[in-house]
Symmetry: D2
Subunit: 119 residues, 4 copies
Amino acid sequence: MNEEDYFKNLTDRERAIFEGGISMGALFHQFVGTPVSVDTASSLEEAIKKSILLQPAVIDVSVKLNRNLIEKCSGVMGYTSLTGEMLSIKLTTKIKEKTITTCISYDENLQYPIMYIED
Amino acid sequence: MNEEDYFKNLTDRERAIFEGGISMGALFHQFVGTPVSVDTASSLEEAIKKSILLQPAVIDVSVKLNRNLIEKCSGVMGYTSLTGEMLSIKLTTKIKEKTITTCISYDENLQYPIMYIED
Amino acid sequence: MNEEDYFKNLTDRERAIFEGGISMGALFHQFVGTPVSVDTASSLEEAIKKSILLQPAVIDVSVKLNRNLIEKCSGVMGYTSLTGEMLSIKLTTKIKEKTITTCISYDENLQYPIMYIED
Amino acid sequence: MNEEDYFKNLTDRERAIFEGGISMGALFHQFVGTPVSVDTASSLEEAIKKSILLQPAVIDVSVKLNRNLIEKCSGVMGYTSLTGEMLSIKLTTKIKEKTITTCISYDENLQYPIMYIED
């Protein structure tokens, strides 16, 4: 069985949504906890971007880590651990003609880094 | 904005697929690497199950870790690190009347732990 | 070369300290980010304990997750992601006659979950 | 209490060993599972290096990911998940005049990525 055969029961749009969800869940749980400072934020953004671009159907990734929050959390040790609150990420998945943009951003009311599909 | 407002652009089925993808990507990248032996496999299965049941829309989770592979990889140290190859998991997400079962299992031909939607 | 041969350049006490450091660093970065609620805290404590007991030289582990902080962080979604701030852990490593207790607890002044050796 | 006060019960050498163990355990469990290919290996090496240099007492880090093994594991999907078997890392910790080099490399006989102190 090749990869495509697994997805015969999904429309192209549904599969693009599925792959977007997988990759967003993956990067959150892979990278939360990583030591990070204002100085190393851009190196970590680059590594997150490159690793997620490897995942099936992902064609574009934009990663922004919140420097203000990283600085505020760093304390006297000079660094902190990456949390979901610091993530602002968009990733684009494409299956044939269908393109989907999956986002994560922190919602203050929900106290929760919410993942959703952009219109 | 409450949680539901984020998902107005998805059908119930699409959102169930999205949440299934998120939770499967999440558990893979959270737990791969965990020290595991034949003796601790059931405790780890339980913790994976309970943590993933917390995620949005997830109503059922079944986790089976491959004991034969854990034993084969354990060597003289008596344990190994959890890999994607050892995972056989199904999780069910439900949005209103729509129920979706998301799976991961290792495909030998693809050399890849593939995530897909069960019919 | 067997395992012992790697450690001929360390005293028993030094190796117990080394193994304590490894296992504390390991569990922090393995489990931070895991979905957790007040209801699932004890299952996660058990899985952390059992997985870390597999590591070399570890003979005892006590894991306490801060329920008050888990509850405070949970918001309307009913759960949160495990952070270093929530961890209060002691693990004991033993090499021959030398026993060492390694701890992690959150230090408010340092804004940092500090790892240290107990007297 | 400041950071130094936690370590009055350790010699400088013991503390350098402790911090080496913590950082090696940390990076293993933070990064194992990350999607990686031959093309993204150097970006991931750089991010691992920069994040670990933030940790207490770490003054130098060298990270080599095994491209041959990454390629062999990649299969038709074009990438794989980072495993302990792919890691060849040295990190140097220094406390006052005492310098310690902590290593991880895969031992075929032990079937285990062993962490040890270099002479």
